[in-house]
Each structure stands twice: as structure tokens, then as C-alpha cells.
Subunit: 363 residues, 4 copies
């Protein structure tokens, strides 16, 4: 089959590789119908995630169709349409039992496109399939559910829920890239009184308004701290969601929240930040971090099915899997292309698995 | 001044009575600009609330203007525009400190128009004023905030919050009178996947659709239990809110919730219900009851100010205080008049207090 | 092998039956080293649980040793010492993912000794073994962990946690049988200010004092409601835990709690109760019901290992499996024998499985 | 009257000063029967709290007797025995209504011995008396309740409750001074499986064992991180409570907690710390800070009255108010004197207020 393969820092190619096979009774093999590229994939390509070994297929977000199941799989059958989540859950360890699938110690967690082959391919082997994929109702399209594989539950769980957004709150979201936009979209589920988006880029702030921000602050040209204080009668925001991943934006979050407020960090950080405990010790703040668990995926899917949540505007560009190299270029150059998420469709013609194996792609 | 006075079961009149005076350093006197009539006032008139003594001025919901404050009042000044809440809070007792103002043991709780004179009058004495009224921002009209005095926080706190409505839930609201409609309006703050309103009256169900119900069930002509099961794949509703106050509707709520579901009783009951423990013991249900505390009034006011919540459609009829007798007739005959809430405006001409005293009205 | 078999209402015998076999890749076969009898087993024998078919082996609480595992079992190996819980969890359904194993819709829930063969036997087949048994640390004896199979998590989850017992509370526990005593033991984990046990039997109340009750009330000879009010300055208990299962005790619980209090029903009920909504609607009460989920089993096991919790006093009588008929008699006649829990030891000599098969016992 | 007065950094004296007078209708004047010195008083004397102006009476923890009340005080009368809390609550502002008295914006918060005269004196004026003092039951001695004025609710609310200690947890408490010891004492209310105290001083660690720690780690001579990992099978502590107030101990807390763990900062910090987000972003941690609100004071008082909590071992030294200068010396030199808390008794002979005024003390 064809797959987008990592070959070390800066090196990727669309390769012909062997089809995946069941390796454990709890596995399933899924035909990938639609997948997408994550900012994390770009980090891997920069060499920032050294545990990804060369020759690994990338990708951890997809919608597909079950083609084969192991003997222990009880809830899936060939032909089932499923969302494959970025987080794999063994379902047996202490953390999985607590719903903390992201902390799975039984062989799951974030493994797809990380420690094992991922989903930017024609087929993928999915470990612990019973507890790691979600049935997709017939009435929902791939595009409607695709972003439930990572970006929506990430912003919702690690940002909105961890930050305990509630009706009437002022919510400051620092960073208006895809994660920040997903935070805006899902924060609205709790009807805050005001959502304020903060970013350096006017283009991203324009998107923030489209996704539902009430106020935008162009950080740098405006003083974000001063503007938040002005908007809140000098009190500060109830919740600040960090959606960038650099020390400056985290520190801004700790400044602009009110006494008793919550800072929810969603950004992936490579460097330490300074925590101004000499100011914060008395301020009754709560700071949270976390990887997504995807425990809210069923809830978010119900909201999409009920017409309450529409993630399709994230899909700004669309490619066939055979164009995956170009898709990466477009996604990586978001500053120019204004890409939010690029959709990769796997099977323009629904070839049988055997035939698909023969399709050859060159990087 | 003029006031609507209770004279025993079935007896009310618009009387000339003495102006209220400060009686404690924590009191304020408020000029009533706008008030409304509650279903509870009708209960009082039926004689169902015997602790209301004849000669009591009725009413516990108003917007007004502070005209005088006791020496201990620190947060209010003459001329301040305030919402007077149905619940008075001493602010000192154990329950007030816990935010359970409705359970106040220090002289508060529901006292206005109940154990002391109420608000359907030109002026009213408000005990524990610092902790029992809310400043109204200039940009909000009386109509926008009036229903924060009782109906909105009641349905929100005792129904929506006690029932722990959350994004994606199926919420069944049994009863589509004003309390049920306020439950619909405030349940939407948490973006349930589906709100189902159940009532006997097609007219009330039409209102439920206007207020945001997704599905309505005409109980009696339809089998509400069967319809809910059909809508939820046989599971039942996540939350059921009782907004009527008779045993049958309460029992229906306990039937139509799913295992693990919540029943939040808001209705005022005069009779016991049957609790089918032989079915419910194993069903993981939570049942809650309660009087409103009004602790969410500031939050709801922020949502109105932010344009997220609009209670003005409750105001179906409008009268001057001098027409209060007719207003009661219209409100009591809601089946015919389709009244939701009637608004009483106190001061068509803004007379000074001294002059107002001389105005005489006879029932 | 030998097993205690139900043959219809009133009929039980110790029979020679075939050894259990693996039936699914997620199964394990466990040699039962120690088991016990539950009050529910007596209900089954009375014919109160008609879904138990004749020829079913009874029992849902045991400590044993894994002898065989299906191909999909990843966390267990032959020789592992395990606690077999009364609740089986498929680990895949929506309720299992939420930790509500008792509501499992994927083939689990309470099935052992109910809809499939149980644990009062030499061996048992355990479905969904990975998610339904718990490893037992070497340093803990069978007696120390046996009551974690049902009684302790039941009283803790459905009584103490659902009732939100917290430091300083007054907790009234109605019923001082094994479930009520386990509620006393586990309520103490939250350091209430006072635990009050209420029962008809002076002998059970003496046990309640032994298990840690501060005050006991002999209901009938004393007026329990009046005594609770006296102990709480007329306010009522913060939490009431129903541990009997008849309408009268449930109704007592709703009377003796304070405004804002919680009633947690643990008792198994066969009849409806009267809910006095005409008094309770205004009282801010929370009433909960539920079957145990056993999600707290690991937490309780840590407390036993840390010396914080000692359930061994429940073991009042001890028999070999061959004496199971007599053990039932002693347990059923607790009024005379003062039995709390009877321990059945399966393997006085540790015969190899093959040899054990040949042991024959006749009722 | 006599009072311990701050005269600028390094300067304190026992002075004759005028008796306090009522200044607002919500004030009370309290005769101080017993008071104590806080670590914060030493900080003030070092000049670390510049908002304390010279000539301020120090002290914010006392038990006393009401001698006079303002006209608006409704819950206190002359002769009432009261605990005066370190936090004054206006009872009217948004934060007070939410129970966040420490964040009071209506004139309260920490003001006693800070922005107004404090309690190390014969008498004190207590603003907002109705909402800022607590009645002391007759059966409790001053010593039993004195430490409820600050140290116990501080460690309980900001450490134990913010850290969500629960039964079965491993709790690491970094710092075994009075605040750390109070954290040990109150963490035990939730029956953790293991309490580990970490400090540099063997003498303080010996005290930690006395107060209920299960394991102590002498930081420096032992590697605290490695030892915690050893005790927790490499997982880390469930909760870490910072009770020192320097960057190193805070950073240690963030290292030694498990994925999903909670760090509760109680220490008063003068400098920023480094937050290793490059490790923590994925670790699902919650970090909290805060000043005490004292909302748990009634709960803790019930536990003392019920014999569940005994703070009297904190009282290691005892002086009359006239010996306050020496008391400070002893408390400041805790390394040598092993003082935990020094008790100052105000009235060795119960002089009438008039006579007491004449007593003169010289620094």
C-alpha cells in the first residue's frame, strides 16, 4: 500500500510499503478513508520527537472502515465505519479505568504515528481496537467527524473542561491556530459571556472571529494585559487557555486571569516558563496541563449529530493520499496558504485491498 | 402608597397603605419601578400558604430604585437601581455563608410577600439589603432583568444545575409553563444535544418550541415514556426536570431517565409521590429538590448583558400598578389569555415619594 | 468439581458438576481459594430473583488463583492471585468507559451467580477477565481482601461516596447488618464528626459500636427522628445511608436529614416507598440509588495494604467448601448465630486441578 | 491598653496605646483572651510586607470576648466568646458571596495586623464582626480553637482541599514547620494511604512523625525524588503540598507527583520559580495557589468538638501578653527552641476593661 513515511529529521516520502497485518487478538485492520495532518507531525519532521524512528508511517487522525478484526474484538465487524482516535486505550490499566487514556500504561496512549505505524496510509493496524475507535453514525460524513480524532477533544478536554469554563465567564484564548480555534468552538458549548482571542497574526484573528470570538487582541501592536483588564473592569479573565506552546504566552495567561481564575495549558512546550509565585501565591489560581484523553469523543459526536457543533470549517484544503507530499507543504506553510487542516482522502476509487497493494507511489 | 394586599383566601385588593419605613440599620427602602406576579401568589390566594397573614402586601419580584438606606448599609446609595430578589439573605448564618440563601436561618429566605410585606406596591422595605439586592447596569432595561428576581434562577439552579445538564445531554422538561420555559432557556446555556418538552397543552408546547425545545410531546395523546425511549434508543433521558408539581409528573420523570440519570424537581408539591424503589434501587439515579438560592443571579445578569440570554419574551402582558387587580385576573386565566408573566409598572409619572403617598387607589 | 447449586426457590445442594472451560478469548478460569455468601444469595433462594435459572452455581465474591487464560487476556497469567469482583466489566461499552461497570451493557454487570455460574465452587470461568478481576498483593491474606468483592465497595460507593460524606458531618446509618457496618467502616475514611447507627436489634447495634459508630439508636424503643434532632440541635443529619431495603427505613432517612442533606440508598428494595414531596420540595435534598460499580476496589485495597482499613472482623464463621450447606444455614440464621459473613475455603489441600476434578460431594 | 506594635523593619515594642473604639455600625470590640504569633509576623518584622505601616499593632489570630458591638451587629452580644479569624469578610462583595473571603474586595481579606491594628493586644476592633468571627462552644478551651484562626484552615483549604487529598492517596508534604504539620494533621481527615514528610531538619521531621507522617525524608542527605519514586513503584505521589515558600521546594513538588497528580502551594513566596512545562505539559498536573478563606473553620471546629482533631500540640510555649517581646524571641529562634506556636494569654486576672486600660507596659 501507499503511506507517508518519516525517514528522519526533514525527510518524508510517499512510499509503497507492505499492508499491515493483525498482530494481536485485540487488533483490527482499518482501511483509511480520510485522514489529516497534525501540527505534531510537523514537529516530528523537525526532529523534535526523537522517539519516532525512521521508517515510521505518520498520522494519528482518521476515519476508516474495518476490514479485519482479531479474535478478541467483540464490538467491531468488517465494514464498520469508525473514527480512529489519536489516543489508543488498552482499557485495562489503572489510568484507562479512570478515563485517563492519554496516560495509558498498558501499551496505549499516543502510539499511532509515534511509536508504531500511523494513519496516513491506505490501511492501518489499530491495537486495542475495541477501546480505541468509535463507531460513526451513517448520517455523519467523514469531514464532520474527522477532527474528533484529535483537535476537538484536545481543546475541549485540556482547555475548556480543565479550565472549567462556565456560563457567564470571560474566556481568554491565547493563540488562534487550529487548537485555539477549536477552543473557541468548544468553549461556546458553555455559553461564556465573552470569548477573547489573542494572537500576533491579523489573519488568524480574523479566523477567530469567524469561529465565534467576541473580541480579538493583536498581541504586540496592542497590550493584551491592559486590554483584558479594560474589558473586565480591572479584574482579569475567568479562564485563560494557552494554545501556543511558548513561555511568553503561558506567562501572559498567568497575568491576565483574575484572582480565583484558571489557566489551562494546551500548548506543547519545549522550554520551561517562569512562574511568578511571588505574585501568584496569594491569587487563588489553578493551572492545569495535560494530553488529551478523548473521553469526550462520544459527547462531541452527539453534538455534531444534533447539529450543535460543526467542525467542517477546519477543512480548508483537500488532497488525495497520493498528493500527501504536497498536502504537507501546504499545511506547513499555513502563514501563506491559510491552511487550518488539510484533508487526505484515501480511496478515490474503492479498490479491494488486494488491488490496493499493487498501487505504487514514489516520493 | 398603593399596594396589592392579601386579605385571606380568595381576597385581594389594591389598597392605600402607609409607606414603609426603615426598621433596622441593615434595611433599605426601595421604590418599586417594575414588578411581576408569580404562580406562588396565586397559591397564596387559594389559601395554600397559610403562613401568609391577611393584610400582607404580595409580591417577591421587582426592579426598583433605592430611596433610603439604614446606617449599616455599605454597598447601596439613594438612586441606585436594583433588582430585588425573591430570596432575602441575612449573609451571616451558616446557610448564607454556604450560598444556600434559600435556607437562611438568620431572618431571610423567602420572606417578601410571604412573612413580611412584599413588592407589588410603590415602595418596599428590604431587609438585609446589602446581601439581598443586585445592582442593575445602566444598559439593561427593567424588562431584561425583572425575571432574574425568581423564575430564571429558580429554573437554572434547581433544574439545570441540580440536574447537572451538560453538553450532549438529552434533557426532558416536564411542564411547559413559565418555569418549564425558563428551564428550556437556561438548559440551552450548556448546549444539550436535545431538549424535549412534555406537557398536556398544545399551546404551551408551541411556546416551548419558541423558547428552544427541539422536540415536544403532548402527554396524554402521546405516550411520553415510549416517545422518550424512541428518541434515545431505549436508554432514557440524561436529565429530567419536573416543572409542574403533581405526583404524576414527578413519577414520569423517574421513569423516563436513563440508568445513571438525574431528576431535578422544581415543581412546588402539595402531595406525596410514589417512589418506585423496587425499580430505581439498581438504576443509579439522583433525585434533587430545592428552593432557589439566587446565587446565580450575577452570572445570569452577565449573560443578559452579553447578549447570550434574553428573558424578555416572558413579558406577555403589561399593566400599571393601578391595574394590578386586572393583571391578576389575566395572569390567573393563563389558559385563555396565554399569559406567561405580567409586568406591573409602578411609576408612570415619577412622583417624589411624598407626593406618591397621597395617591389613593381603591380595589 | 464441587459447587453450590441453585435448583429453584428453596432448593440448593452441593453438587458434582463439570469443571468450567474457557468460552471466549477474554475469559480466564480461576481456582476459587476463598469465597463467601451474600445476603443476595438468600434472596435468590427465596425466589426473589427470578432471572437466576435452576442449575446455576451461586456466589459472586471470591479470591482465587488464575489457572488458564484466553488468548486475548493480556494482564493475567497462570498462578496470579486475584480478587474476583461481584461486577464483571466488558470494558468496552459506554458505561464501562465511564466507570459505571454496574451498568455494563456489553455482557457484564452483575452476572456471576446470577445469569451465569458463580463462585461458590472449586473453579469458575470469569468473562472479561482483564477488566473484571484485581491482582492481590502477596502481603495481603485472602481474608483481608475477600470483602472487597462486594460489601465494602457497595457501602463505600453507593452509600458513603454517593452521600458525599465529608469531615465534620453527622452521618446516620439506618440498618446495622453487614452493609450498614461496612458503611460505618468506610464512612470513617472521611472523618465525620459523628456516626449514628439505627437498627431494631440491640445485638446489631452492639456490633455497630464495635465497627466505630459513636451513637446507636434502637429504633422502635426509641424515636429515631427525635433522637437525631436532639443530637443535631434540631437540624437533622448531613447524610443518611439506607442499608435495609424496606419503605419504612427509606422514609425515615428522608425525614431525619437536614435541609441540604443527602440520602444515599444502598438497600435492595422490593416495594415502592412514599416520597413526601409536599415537605421535601423546599428542603434541598439529594437522593441517590445505585448498584456498586467497584471502581473504588483499588483504592480500598491500598487502604488495607496501608493498614488504614481492616475488614477482617466481618469474617465471623469459617467453613470448607464441602460444608457449604451448613455455612448457608449459619448465615441465614444470623439472628441466632450473629454471623456477619461466613468464609468458605475452597482448597484445604492444594490439589492440582486434575485431582480436584475427581473430588465428589453430594448435598 | 498594652499592645505589641510594629515600628518599621526590625523594630517592635510592647507599648501603651489607646483602647480601640467602634468605628462603624458593623464593628465589634473584642477583649483578647489568647493570641498567637504567626510566621508572617516575622516576615513583617523583616520588612518583607511593606504595606504594614509603622505603629500598627501586629497579630491576626486570637480568641476573645465581645465587649461592645455596633448597631448593625445582629449575631453577637457582649460576653460572647469568639474566635477572631485572620481573614475579615465584608460578606457583601462577589468574592465573599462565593466563600472566597480571602479575596474580599469590600474592605476585608487579611487586614488585621496588616492594614489595620491587629490582635496582639488587650483589645481589638473587629470590622464586619458578624461575618468575621466564630462563636466558640463553652466546652472548648482557648487552646483547642486558637489555631483555627489561621494555621489549620490555611493548611486544610489551600493544601489538603485544593490538592484534593482522598482516601488511599500518597501525600507528600514538603516542609515540616507549623504549616506542614497542620497539613499532616488535616490530610489525615481523608485517610490517605501514606503521608510522607520532607524537610532538611531532623528535629522537624521528628515532629512530623509525632503529628502523623508515615514516612519522613531528610532532604539533602537523602534524594527526595528517588525516595518518593521508590515508595510509589516509580509512579510519584498523588498530591504534593508545598509548605515552605522557596523555588526549590516548589520545583521539587512538581517533580515528585505522578501523572494526573496535584501540587497545592501553601508557602508564601518571594521569588519566581521555574515551571518545567517541557516535561509537565503532557503530565496532566494541576497546580493551585491561594490565601486561606477560612470557610472551613466551622467544619474544623466541629471536628475538634467531636474529638476527631486535636491542635493543642502546636502550643509549645506560653507567655502572658506582658512577655510578648520574649515570646517573639522564642518563636523567631525555633531552630533552637523548637517552638511551633507560642500562646499569648491576655488576661491573667480578668480585670474589668476600665482597669485594664491603666496597665502600662514598656518595651
Amino acid at each position: 500500500m501507499r503511506a507517508l513515511v518519516y525517514h528522519g529529521p526533514g525527510e518524508r516520502s510517499l512510499d509503497a510499503v507492505p499492508d499491515p497485518q493483525l498482530a494481536a487478538p485485540t487488533d483490527a485492520v482499518v482501511r483509511i478513508d480520510t485522514s489529516t495532518i497534525c501540527g505534531t507531525d510537523l514537529h516530528i519532521l523537525k526532529g523534535d520527537v526523537p522517539e519516532v524512528r525512521p521508517a515510521t508511517i505518520l498520522g494519528h487522525e482518521a476515519v476508516g472502515t474495518v476490514v479485519e478484526t482479531g479474535s478478541a474484538v467483540t464490538t467491531l465487524a468488517e465494514g464498520d465505519r469508525v473514527l480512529v482516535s489519536c489516543i489508543t486505550a488498552c482499557g485495562r490499566c489503572r489510568f484507562c479505568k479512570e478515563g485517563h487514556y492519554g496516560l495509558c500504561t498498558g501499551g496505549g496512549g499516543w502510539i499511532l504515528g509515534h511509536t508504531i505505524d500511523g494513519l496516513q496510509a491506505e490501511y492501518a493496524r489499530i491495537p486495542f481496537a475495541d477501546t480505541s475507535v468509535h463507531h460513526v453514525p451513517d448520517e455523519l460524513t467523514d469531514d464532520q467527524v474527522l477532527f474528533l480524532a484529535d483537535i476537538l477533544p484536545t481543546s475541549y478536554e485540556v482547555g475548556v473542561l480543565a479550565g472549567r469554563v462556565k456560563p457567564g465567564d470571560v474566556v481568554a484564548i491565547v493563540g488562534a491556530g487550529p487548537i485555539g480555534l477549536a477552543a473557541i468552538l468548544t468553549a461556546k458549548l458553555f455559553t461564556p459571556a465573552m470569548i477573547v482571542a489573542i494572537d500576533l497574526s491579523p489573519a488568524r484573528l480574523a479566523k477567530a472571529l469567524d469561529f465565534g470570538a467576541d473580541v480579538v487582541i493583536e498581541n504586540g501592536s496592542e497590550n493584551a494585559f491592559a486590554r483584558i483588564m479594560e474589558l473586565t473592569d480591572g479584574l482579569g479573565a475567568d479562564v485563560a487557555i494557552e494554545a501556543v506552546g511558548v513561555p511568553e504566552t503561558f506567562e501572559l495567561c498567568t497575568e491576565l486571569i483574575r484572582p480565583g481564575g484558571r489557566v489551562a495549558n494546551v500548548g506543547v512546550h519545549g522550554h520551561p516558563a517562569t512562574l511568578h509565585l511571588e505574585k501568584l501565591w496569594i491569587k487563588d489560581v489553578t493551572i492545569t496541563t495535560g494530553l488529551v484523553d478523548t473521553f469526550t469523543t462520544p459527547e462531541l459526536m452527539k453534538l455534531i449529530a444534533g447539529g450543535r457543533l460543526d467542525p467542517t470549517p477546519f477543512a480548508t484544503h483537500r488532497f488525495e493520499l497520493g498528493e500527501a507530499m504536497e498536502a504537507y507543504d501546504v499545511f506547513a506553510d499555513a502563514g501563506t496558504t491559510h491552511a487550518l487542516k488539510v484533508v487526505l482522502t484515501g480511496h478515490p476509487v474503492h479498490l479491494p485491498a488486494a488491488a490496493a497493494k499493487e498501487a505504487v507511489a514514489v516520493s
